[in-house]
């Protein structure tokens, strides 16, 4: 955020662009919805628990309902039986919404190149961040968080400059 100090009657003021300011505020207030289906869910739990503590990065409140969330973390393999359910959950989230595909299976199908597995959730809806690994280590997931925060900060919303 480009802050600028300017002279102001009675003292100094900091000015910035409204879009940047709004982006800065939105960056730390995402409500993630962990959608854990398989192995990566255990690593997500490790990220959530006391050692890695994702709350430090402004993701304190995991929302388990899509209607109160604006970020979906798809954690684990998505099977064709699950695909319609996942699609509907995505549609229930309010705009602007973001998606992190955590792990190889969610990103591209991973080692399960089979009849029952969706080859990447980007065949269902757009994905913002792909997290590699099978499963990704908590550090990788935290890196993905910070990358997405950067992205959220620089996204301009309609009507807000």
């Amino acid at each position: 955020m480009g802050l600028e100090k300017v002279e102001w009657p009675g003292g100094e003021a900091l000015i910035t662009k409204s879009s940047e300011f709004i982006g800065w505020a939105r960056k730390y207030s995402a409500w993630p919805m962990p959608y854990a289906t398989a192995c990566c869910g255990i690593e997500y739990m490790a990220t959530m628990a006391s050692h890695y503590d994702q709350g430090r990065f402004g993701w304190e409140r995991p929302s388990f309902s899509p209607r109160q969330a604006d970020l979906m973390i798809v954690i684990g393999t998505i099977c064709i039986k699950m695909a319609p359910v996942l699609k509907r959950i995505y549609e229930q989230m309010a705009d602007p919404r973001y998606v992190i595909a955590m792990g190889a299976c969610a990103s591209c199908g991973g080692m399960f190149d089979t009849y029952s597995v969706v080859q990447g959730v980007d065949t269902l809806f757009p994905v913002d961040i792909y997290v590699p690994g099978c499963p990704p280590r908590p550090e990788t997931l935290i890196l993905a968080y910070t990358k997405l925060q950067e992205q959220i900060q620089h996204t301009r919303l309609e009507g807000l400059g």
Partner: protein, 404 residues
């Protein structure tokens, strides 16, 4: 058709309550763990009828493993019960060794026992921690996960991965033990004991927790056996069936431990059986780690176990063997074998048919979860919706293993 029959039956049985409420407890319900779909019919808070649907995490392990070599299947077993992946690795490796007729050295057997019991502890930690979360006690989960984090760091040193460990090879361990293994294992036991004590104080004598769990979703021993229950869920009903005692594998007969049993098979019994099993696992680990024998880390089977890397570069025979194992795979004799191990969730069986080729002709995983999870239709019936959540998490069904 069937739905119509059930609807009709319910209307006849509850003539006053024609407006039963349909609730889909899953596959993406916020209160459940794992992606199972339980379609409930509710009369107020009471569940009248449940229809279980699974298959939302069906990843076709059995089909894939027909195209993998015997050592590659280890990667699949990692992802079956991902809470305790090394236990599955060991189960499969034992099956392949039974098929090939390999006897592994004592050191390997002891290390496998240690790893198996560590996995039992961390699996039960998650199950009981989550059971606490569902009953409204979030704190225990944070205590327990700290222990898991410690052991993950040890796994990291040992095999280079945290969760999908890919531990062991057919014929031995995948690499020699790292120097401080024994010390690390023994040092880990102290915090386990301490945390268990704290957890007992938090939950075991907690009046609210007992009231939530006592006499909820109880099942009789006879019925449980007919369903094919195994592991802690079966022992909670009072049946003393533990493969570590009944069909000892990997030198389990060398260790002194007790098998806890419950009496009623309700949630509290399952919880207590798991808690006591953890204490017994600590005993086993202590005995095994203190008496860790010396010896090679693999059996002397050059046509099955990969030679050391430095030999591959300097010794022609070793290079040929390396090439043959990598390119042709291991070819066991024709036959079929069933090997069961006492995985944290119960009897994890591997039924393998070999036609003499490098891939299993047919590999069936007998997952303990499938057998006890099919009883939810009976267990949840006539219970309260709040109890249903506790029942599901106390059974500890893991989607990856249940649906394979």
């Amino acid at each position: 058709m069937l739905k119509h029959v059930i609807d009709q039956a319910i209307v006849e049985e509850y003539p006053g309550n024609k407006d039963l409420y349909d609730l889909n407890l899953g596959p993406a319900h916020p209160a459940t763990h794992g992606i199972f779909d339980n379609r409930c019919k509710l009369d107020g808070e009471r569940i009248i009828e449940v229809e279980g649907h699974i298959g939302y995490c069906h990843r076709s392990f059995e089909k894939l493993s027909e195209h993998y070599t015997y050592n590659q299947v280890i990667t699949i077993t990692d992802r079956m019960n991902y809470v305790s992946s090394m236990a599955n690795n060991i189960g499969w490796v034992l099956t392949a060794e039974k098929l090939l007729g390999i006897e592994v050295p004592k050191l390997v057997q002891y290390v496998r026992v240690i790893i198996f019991e560590i996995n039992r502890i961390i699996d039960h930690l998650v199950c009981n921690g989550i059971l606490g979360v569902d009953a409204g006690a979030y704190t225990g989960f944070l205590y327990f996960f700290e222990l898991r984090e410690d052991i993950y760091q040890m796994f990291d040193k040992m095999v280079g991965a945290r969760l999908t460990t890919n531990f062991g090879r057919v014929g031995g361990l995948d690499r020699p033990l790292y120097p401080d293994f024994q010390k690390d294992v023994l040092a880990w036991l102290e915090p386990v004991r301490k945390t268990m004590k704290e957890f007992h104080i938090l939950l075991t004598r907690n009046r609210i927790f007992i009231d939530r769990c006592k006499d909820v979703s109880a099942i009789s021993a006879e019925r449980a056996l007919e369903y094919g229950f195994s592991g802690p869920n079966l022992r909670a009903t009072g049946v003393k069936y533990d493969l570590r005692k009944d069909e000892p594998y990997s030198s389990y007969e060398d260790f002194d431990f007790d098998v806890p049993v419950g009496s009623t098979g309700d949630i509290y019994d399952r919880y207590m059986v798991r808690m006591i099993e953890m204490e017994q696992s600590v005993r086993i680990i202590e005995q095994a780690a203190k008496n860790l024998p010396d010896g090679p880390h693999h059996a002397d089977v050059p046509e099955i176990y990969l030679p050391e890397k430095k030999d591959v570069y300097s010794n022609m025979e070793a290079m040929i063997r390396h090439f043959k194992i990598i390119m042709h795979g291991i070819c066991p004799p024709e036959g079929e074998v069933y090997q069961a191990v006492e995985a944290p969730n119960g009897e994890l069986g591997f039924y393998c048919v070999s036609d003499g080729g490098p891939n299993p002709y047919r590999l069936h995983f007998r997952s303990p979860c499938l057998y006890f999870y099919q009883s939810v239709e009976e267990l949840l019936k006539d219970g309260l919706i709040a109890d249903a959540i506790l029942t599901l998490s106390s059974l500890n069904a893991i989607a990856g293993e249940l649906e394979r």
